[in-house]
């Protein structure tokens, strides 16, 4: 069900929410968090709402979408409430502010009365994010601030800002996209022979913050020289990792962006599907943990320790 409240106020929205609950019992009370999404008004907002609805199947939440409209306009707030089938397992409140109401400060002011009592607040910028998310008025309301450097117009620049402005509670989906890679590498080291890793090479697209981040993570965790190289002909994003050990190297490579191969000395090649992860999947993972991610912070810091290689890594086995 979609209820439109044109030219409205947040107290009218709150009244309507209570009314909907009382009349139809449409909203359960088991919401575990409030997810505040900040976007520009437009088509991207719908994609992001869909991703949030998908994630809400795992984490029932109240989604507040702050869709900033035209700044050169008369002040107006158009609100919309979506519940039931139109909102996954969540309830979605879209706030379209125009004129002065499209500013960051005013956006935060509209969000505050709609936050669920006591429940954690997560802010998410699906597209462009503020330079320092923790300084943003909405970012300040949240325990957890999720950004996505890759969906920005200039991913490298956005990622640089993330590194420079990081505080505990920030995460970026470039990190989330690496979880499967990291898990496979960690599992490979779980098994014998238990030898120290003496060096590592990480390759991926030239513009791939995730690849940089994985190299940074390895540099910190392994305390060895890590080289970040470009890859030719890869399927996008990360493409390979090589960990050098005395008995031979562990290699994990994904030439086509879909299937990875794990190669270890004295063992047959093992293949495993390793797709690039979609935003809903990443968001669901992000919402699973609401405490600061120290490992991510360390990996960001580790990027300063990696060396850049120029020679592309050839992925043909």
């Amino acid at each position: 069900m979609i209820v439109d409240l044109p030219s409205s106020t947040t107290s009218a929205v709150n009244r309507k929410l209570v009314e909907l609950r009382e009349s139809g019992g449409v909203m359960a009370l088991g919401r575990v968090l409030t997810l505040v999404m900040v976007t520009d008004d437009g088509g991207d907002a719908e994609d992001a709402i869909e991703a949030a609805n998908a994630a809400s199947r795992e984490h029932p939440c109240r989604v507040i979408v702050v869709a900033r409209g035209a700044r050169k306009a008369a002040p107006r707030l158009d609100a919309q409430i979506r519940v039931g089938g139109d909102a996954g397992a969540s309830e979605v409140i879209v706030l379209r502010g125009y004129g002065p109401l499209a500013s960051e400060e005013a956006g935060a002011g509209m969000v505050v009365p709609l936050l669920l009592p006591d429940a954690p607040v997560v802010a998410w910028w699906p597209g462009e994010a503020p330079a320092v998310p923790s300084d943003d008025p909405i970012g300040r309301l949240a325990q957890r601030r999720i950004t996505d450097a890759l969906s920005s117009r200039n991913p490298n620049k956005a990622f640089e800002q993330r590194r420079a402005g990081h505080v505990a509670g920030d995460t970026d989906l470039t990190w989330t996209r690496l979880t499967h890679w990291r898990a496979l590498l960690a599992t490979a080291l779980d098994n014998p022979p238990h030898e120290a890793v003496t060096g590592a090479v990480v390759a991926g697209e030239t513009v791939s913050p995730s690849t940089d981040l994985l190299a940074g993570w390895l540099a910190v965790r392994l305390d060895v020289k890590v080289k970040r190289s470009p890859a030719i002909d890869n399927g996008g994003g990360m493409s390979s990792v090589q960990l050098t050990r005395r008995s031979g190297a562990i290699e994990l490579f994904r030439p086509d962006g879909r299937t990875a191969t794990l190669r270890q000395p004295g063992q047959p090649d093992r293949m495993i599907p390793l797709n690039r992860r979609g935003v809903p999947d990443c968001l669901a993972e992000e919402l699973r943990r609401l405490d600061p991610d120290e490992i991510y912070a360390e990996a960001l810091a580790g990027i300063g320790r990696i060396s850049r290689g120029r020679t592309p890594v050839n992925l043909v086995p």
Partner: protein, 520 residues
């Protein structure tokens, strides 16, 4: 229960993986290189639970690259036929969406070995297949054997596994065996069974599946009790009046005569599931969530558990009769195909136990289970004592019952709290209301199936959720006197109508102490 992560084999103990960090909570536990061999792969359990669980694990990225699944059965199948059967099972029963690329990679590791359990040649072929998988798929000599077969076949299969060298573990490679209930039918047979299995597999390689323990809600009992300040102070005989643990099914027993006739509800459910649920509910706080500490507490509480006498009054048994149940005409047990028309097998069983320790002295635990009951439900209900003094007129609290905390194990997993609340209006009137936490509304879709969790734990070598033989044997020790008393009695089980909540004798058993069963 993730503390104390273990990796396979000796020598792993002093190795710390630099890529792991307890603070890194995103990293899932993926099993190391390994394979799974299923005996009785054509059975219902295998198709409805095991195969879908394996696919779901693969889909969630929790199986190792190069994972292998070997089926062993009498059917004259090739590996492709086997693949087709798994495919159909996965399409019909998997929890997660079907993804072709995941399936393709998984299916490359399927093998099928045709043979019977007494066929030496078949086991030699199986041994060969397993070695071949180590070479081709890189399963690294790590294999789990899932015995989804009747216990009568355990001795011969165990012997075959030993003879063909399949059970031999060397160095850092592991071999594990997974067995399903029933773990015997009384103490004596349970000990025999354990001896047979332990002759071939050391106890730490034996994983006994009680699928209830893989359920999120059962593990949540521990979280509820030991992570909160709210409940533990009242979780004792000062505040708790009694505890009811119920596992009810609305289906009958048609088609299960071969297994069920002569076994009955008490052996089938109380001995394992209900006593395990009792252990989780009543145990003391473990020192840590490592499997050793957890088991130590479970065994302690089971050792303190005693039947309440006289058994004729504190136990009840019943057998469902035919009739209309929920719009369907159903047959009574003795009319079901394959059952002895004079069968005295009970389809409903209820017992009363007490836990003799300081925390629980004097608090009865009522356990009941049955088939063809009102609806399918499993729950643990902790019923509290009434407030010692009510500063209200009697008329104000007429409708106030006892406070209760109910852990709904299945379906509709969650926790309900029942307490009194003022009825709106100008008069003071207090009535029972419920407060509800639903897993489905707070963490929708995230809950994996019990078998996913348990199979993964087997492959990881994480034994917390599997009862050890000491628990199994102790549970039989508790239950055996009831079975003996029932066998010795002249009368058989009391009849009860299909779709009801059991025989009248079970209500009398509660009424004896002025209590009543909760309608779940």
């Amino acid at each position: 229960m993730t503390a104390g992560r273990t990796t396979a084999g000796p020598g792993a103990l002093d190795w710390t993986n630099p890529l792991r960090d307890p603070r890194d909570k995103r990293l899932p536990r993926i099993a190391g290189p390994c394979g799974l061999v299923i005996f009785g792969v054509t059975g219902d359990l295998s198709r409805k639970k095991l195969m879908p669980a394996i696919y779901d694990l693969a889909n969630r990225g929790l199986l190792p690259p190069g994972f292998a699944l070997v089926g062993f059965a009498r059917r004259d199948w090739g590996s492709e036929d086997f693949g087709k059967v798994v495919y159909e099972a996965v399409r019909a029963h998997a929890r997660t969406p079907f993804r072709q690329d995941v399936w393709d990679k998984l299916a490359e590791g399927f093998r099928f070995v045709q043979g019977t359990f007494d066929d030496d040649d078949a086991f030699d072929r199986l041994s060969h297949t397993v070695r071949d998988l180590d070479r081709v798929r890189g399963t690294g000599g790590n294999h789990a054997f899932y015995l989804s077969i009747p216990p009568a076949a355990f001795p011969v299969v165990c012997k075959q596994l030993a003879r063909s060298g399949l059970s031999a573990q060397d160095g850092e490679q592991w071999r594990r065996v997974v067995i399903e209930k029933p773990f015997g039918h009384d103490l004596k047979s349970a000990i025999e069974l354990n001896e047979i299995v332990n002759e071939v597999f050391p106890e730490d390689s034996v994983f006994r599946i009680d699928h209830y323990l893989g359920k999120e809600t059962v593990q949540n009992v521990l979280a509820l009790r030991f992570a909160n300040q709210l409940y533990e102070p009242i979780w004792n005989s000062h505040y708790v009046d009694h505890v009811q643990i119920t596992m009810a099914e609305d289906i009958g027993l048609g088609g299960r005569a071969g297994y069920y006739d002569g076994i009955g509800a008490a052996r089938d459910v109380i001995q394992n599931h209900l006593l395990q649920l009792l252990a989780f509910t009543a145990m003391e706080e473990p020192v840590s969530f490592s499997s050793d500490e957890l088991r130590a507490e479970k065994i302690k509480v089971l050792n303190a558990t005693r039947l309440v006498s006289p058994l004729t009054e504190t136990t009840a048994r019943g057998q469902y009769t035919g009739g209309w149940q929920g719009g369907e005409l159903v047959r009574g047990l003795t009319e079901e195909e394959g059952y002895d028309p004079d069968s005295r097998t009970e389809t409903f069983a209820a017992i009363t136990v007490e836990v003799d320790n300081r925390r629980w002295a004097g608090v009865p635990f009522y356990l009941r289970t049955g088939k063809r009951l009102g609806r399918r439900v499993t729950e643990i209900a902790v019923i509290f004592k009434r407030a010692p003094h009510l500063p209200f007129d009697a008329t104000m609290t007429e409708e106030l019952g006892q406070n209760a905390l109910v852990v709904r194990v299945q379906p509709d997993e969650g926790v309900t709290m029942r307490f009194g609340s003022k009825v709106p209006g100008s008069q003071m009137e207090v009535r029972d209301v419920t407060m509800d936490f639903g897993y489905g509304t707070a963490f929708t879709e995230a809950s994996p199936e019990a078998y996913e969790r348990l199979i993964l734990d087997v492959l990881l070598g994480e034994p917390s959720l599997f009862p050890v033989n000491q628990e199994v044997e102790r549970s039989w020790e508790i239950l055996d006197p009831v079975i003996d008393a029932w066998t010795a009695a002249d009368d058989g089980p009391d009849p009860y109508a299909a779709g009801s909540w059991g025989p009248e004798s079970s209500n009398r058993m509660m009424a004896r102490t002025g209590r009543t069963w909760r309608r779940p």
